[in-house]
Amino acid sequence: MLISYSWLQLLTKKLDENPYEIAEKLSRSIAEIENITVTDLDTVFEVENKALSHRADLFGHVGWAHEIAAITGKSVTQNLPKDVSPCGTIAKNSPLTISIDDSDEKATRYVGAVVDLTNQPQSPAWLVDLLTALGQRSVSYIVDITNYVMLKHAQPMHAFDVAKLPSLNISVRFAQEGERLTLLDNTELTLTTSDLVIDSGGVAIALAGIKGGNLAQIDQSTNQILLESATFDQYTIRATSRRHAVRSEASLRFEKGLSPTVALTALREALTILTGDKDISDSSYVDCYPNPIELSEPIAISIDSVRHYLNKSDLRASDIVSKLELLGFITKNENNDILVTPPHERNDIHIVEDVYEEIGRVLDYNTITPTLPQRDASIPNRNDQWEFGYAVRDVFARTGNYETLSYSFVDKNAAGQVSSISEGVSSLEPIIDPSLVAIKNPAAPEMAYMRTSLLPSITSHVIENAKRFDEFGLFEIGKVTVPHDETLPDEPRLLAFTYYSKKESEVDTLSAGKGIWKTSLTYLGITNELVNLVPLKLEIGETKGFCFGYEIDLDVLQSLSIPRMFSQIPVSMPTINDLSFTLPADQIIGPVISHIIELGSSNPDITMNCVLTDQFQSPTMKKENRMSYTVRLTFSHLKQSLSDTKITPLRTSIEKSLATQFNAIIR
C-alpha cells in the first residue's frame, strides 16, 4: 500500500508535521512504514499489504487520515478535489434494476447509478500525478475517478458502457459450471459455480469484485455509464481470485473484508465529482441492500482496567475518549466505564482487548513504563533431550569436526532414503514412498521433498568443501520426517557424521573416520558395539577422495550414554605385550578383537586394553590365503605391579581360544 502524504494533508486539519516524524509515529502505532519516497510533488509512504490484513479501511487514505488524527490530535476533514471537470448528469428515468440472486449472501450490497456523459475530459494533472505517485496508471477520466475514489475510501468501483450492456437489469449471481467470461485484459476464464459474477440480461459482464469483462468496456465514444459500487464476501473473492489466478486492486481490497456502508459513500462521492452536484439525492442511484448491517453492540471498558493493563495510572478518561473519537469511534461515559462503539469501517474491533490495543498503540507503547510479571521464581524443568544434543555437538566439535546445517528439503533422488544399522553395518536405502513426503508447492525442484535422512543433504556439503579442503569431518543434528498412518509424521532427531579425505587409500580414510566416531562416542560414555559401527561409504560422484558417513537416532545414543564417573588409575606402570597371529584371509578382524577384549576382562583385578597395531600379508601368506595381525595388549592392575606370572595364564588362554575359535596360528 502506497500512501500520499500530500493527500493526507488535505484530509487532516492543519497537518504540517515533517513527513518523517509522521512516518515514525505511524510505524509505532499501526505498521512499519517500510519506505519513504520523496519527489518534487509528494512524499509517499509504503507499507507491506500483508501487514494490513486486518484493516481493510487502511487500503484507502481516509483510514490513514483517522490514524494521523489520533496520533496528532488533529481532526479529519471531508475533502473533495477542487480541480475536477463535471462531465455528465444522472440519467433521468433510467430503467436500471438491481437484484442479488444469491441465497448465501456472498454479495451484501450493490449500489448502481447511470450517468449520461456530455463529454470525456482529460484527467487533470494533479489526478495523473497522484495516481502515478501511488503506482497507478492514468487510463481515462472516468476510470481515473473510480480509482481516485477507491484510493480514498478503499472501495473498488467499476464503470460499464451502458450501450454495450445486454440489459440494465443487473444482478449478482453465481456462475454456471463452465460459463465463459472474457476479462478486460482479454483473459478468458471458464467459471465454476463458486464464482460470483455480475449479470446483465443473462450474460456475465464482470467477475464480481475482481475484474470487469471486456463486453461493456468503456471507451472514448461511451456516452452513458453504469457505475457500480458493491460489497462482496471476502472469502468468496479470495477463493475465486486464487482459483483463476487473477488479482487486482479490487480483489486485494475485497479480500480484507470491506464494510457495506462504504459502498454508498464511495458511489455518492464519484457521482458528485462526475456531475458537479454536491447534493446527490437518494433517487440518483439504485441501492440493493437486502440486510443492512447494524453498528455492533458497544464494548464496555473500565478506566481502571486500561490503566492497569497499560501501566499508566495517570491516564484520564478524557484522554481515552478523545483518542478513540479521533479514530472514528463513538463513546459514551457510564459510571467508571466507557462504552465504545467502533465505526462500520472498523470491523476488526470485537472485544475489549481490541479496544485496549487501540488506546495503547496510539499512545505509543514506548511511553509505557516496563514491568516484570509477578511470579514465583520456580526453577524450570530441564530438557534432557535438548541438553544431550548439545553434549553431542560439543564432543564432535572437540574431535575436530564442523557442525553444519543443511536444508530439510531434498530432491527426488534423495527422497525417501532411510539409513539403518544391521549387524554393526550402516546402510541407506530408499524405503519411504517419496509421494508421502512431497511438498505441494516447492520453492525449487531440488527442494521438493521433506528429507527422511540427513546423509544426502550433508553429502552435498561434503562435495562442496572437497573442492577446497583435503580432509574434514562434518556433522549435523536435525529432525527428519517419517510418515505415519493417519497421524502426524514421526520426527526422529538424528545425528549424521561424515568424514572425508583425499588419502590414497580407502582403508586409511575409513579407519580415520571410525576413529573419530569411536573417540566421540566413548567420550559420551557409550561402551556397546555401536562404537565400532561400520559406516556407509558415501557416493561423492566425480569428487576425488573417499567419504564415509554415520547416521543414528539421538535418542538411541542418549539411552546408551552412561554419565561420566571417575575411574581408579593404576598405581604402577602397565605391562605391554604384543601378540602376533595369522588368520584365514576371509576372517574379518572386528569380532576377533572384541573376543580378545572379552577374554581380557575375565579377571576382575586386571584391566586389559587391546589395540590393533599392524596388519600385513607376505607373498607366502597370500599363497596360503592368510593375513597377519599384531595387537598390543596393555595389562594393568589397580593396586600392584603385574609380573609375567600373572599375565601369562591370561595370554595363553587368549592364544588357545583364538586358535580354536578363529583358526588362528600364533606367530
Binding site: P373, Q374, L474, E491
Partner: protein, 243 residues
C-alpha cells in the same frame, strides 16, 4: 626459533546452534523451560487454533509450504502454542506457563541476503493471571538487555505496532547498535489473543499472557556482523571455522 608454529585444526559448532544455546540458557535462568517444536504440523495447530480464520488472508502472511496430504512444514514456532497451553492448563492454578520453543521454520520466500526459506525461531510463552502489556514490554526489554550484554552489542530498542491474528495487541521490538542508523526487526510479540487461550481450554476471563519470537539467525547475524543469511546453510568450512 622464529619459525611460526604449526596450526592445529579445531572443530566448530554452527553459529546458529551456539546462539540457540546461549539464548535458551538466558531464558532458563529467567524461569522458562525449553521445548523443541515439531518440524511438520497440522493446519489446526499452525493456523486454526491460533485464531487464523479459514481462508483468511492472514494465512498469506506466512507464505506457507504444504505437503501433499495438507500437513505443513511449520512457518512459525507458534504452531506449538496450542499443544503447550493444552498440556499445562491443569496446573495453571498453581504454576504459570513459562516456556520457550526452539524450532526450524519454513516460508516460501525468495532467497536473498536477508531472507531465507529456512529460518530459526525461539518462541516464548507466558500465561498467568492479570498479565499486562507493560509485563510483555518489560520482559522483552530485559531479555533484549541480557542478549545485548552477553554479546557486548550495546543495543538500543524501540517498540512498533504490528499485526498477527494470534496476538492482541501485536508489537515488534526493533533493535539497533549504538551509533548505527539501521533498526532491525528482532522480536515480534504480543498479548496472546483470548481466542487462542479459549481454543486451548483456558478461561481467558481469568488468565492471559504474552508470546514472542526471537529470530535466532537474525540475532546471530547481528552478533557477528554476518551480512548474508545464505551462509548459514552453505555448509562452507570457510564460514563454519570462524565461529
Amino acid at each position: 626459533m622464529t619459525t611460526p608454529g604449526t596450526v592445529r585444526v579445531i572443530g566448530h559448532q554452527h553459529p546458529v546452534t551456539q546462539t540457540y544455546k546461549e539464548v535458551t540458557d538466558i531464558f532458563r535462568s529467567l524461569g522458562f523451560e525449553t521445548i523443541e517444536a515439531r518440524l511438520v504440523n497440522s493446519p489446526d495447530e499452525v493456523f486454526t487454533h491460533l485464531n487464523f480464520a479459514k481462508d483468511h488472508p492472514a494465512r498469506d502472511i506466512m507464505d506457507t509450504f504444504y505437503l501433499d496430504d495438507g500437513m505443513i512444514p511449520i512457518p512459525h514456532t507458534s504452531s506449538m502454542q496450542n499443544t503447550i497451553l493444552t498440556s499445562c492448563r491443569e496446573s495453571l492454578e498453581t504454576k504459570p506457563i513459562a516456556a520457550i520453543i526452539a524450532g526450524r521454520c519454513f516460508r516460501n520466500e525468495k532467497l536473498d541476503q536477508t531472507h531465507e526459506a529456512t529460518f530459526y525461531q525461539l518462541e516464548g510463552l507466558y500465561v498467568n493471571k492479570h498479565v499486562r502489556v507493560s509485563d510483555l514490554i518489560g520482559t522483552l526489554m530485559a531479555v533484549g538487555q541480557r542478549i545485548s550484554d552477553t554479546y557486548a552489542l550495546e543495543l538500543e530498542f524501540k517498540v512498533l505496532t504490528t499485526y498477527f491474528p494470534f496476538v492482541e495487541p501485536g508489537i515488534e521490538i526493533l533493535a539497533k547498535k549504538k551509533n548505527s542508523d539501521s533498526w532491525m526487526e528482532l522480536i515480534p510479540a504480543g498479548m496472546i489473543h483470548p481466542n487462542v487461550l479459549t481454543a486451548a481450554g483456558i478461561d481467558s476471563k481469568i488468565y492471559n499472557g504474552f508470546a514472542w519470537a526471537v529470530g535466532i539467525d537474525r540475532l546471530t547475524m547481528l552478533r557477528y556482523n554476518i551480512t548474508d543469511i545464505r551462509w548459514f546453510h552453505s555448509g562452507d568450512i570457510r564460514f563454519l571455522q570462524q565461529f
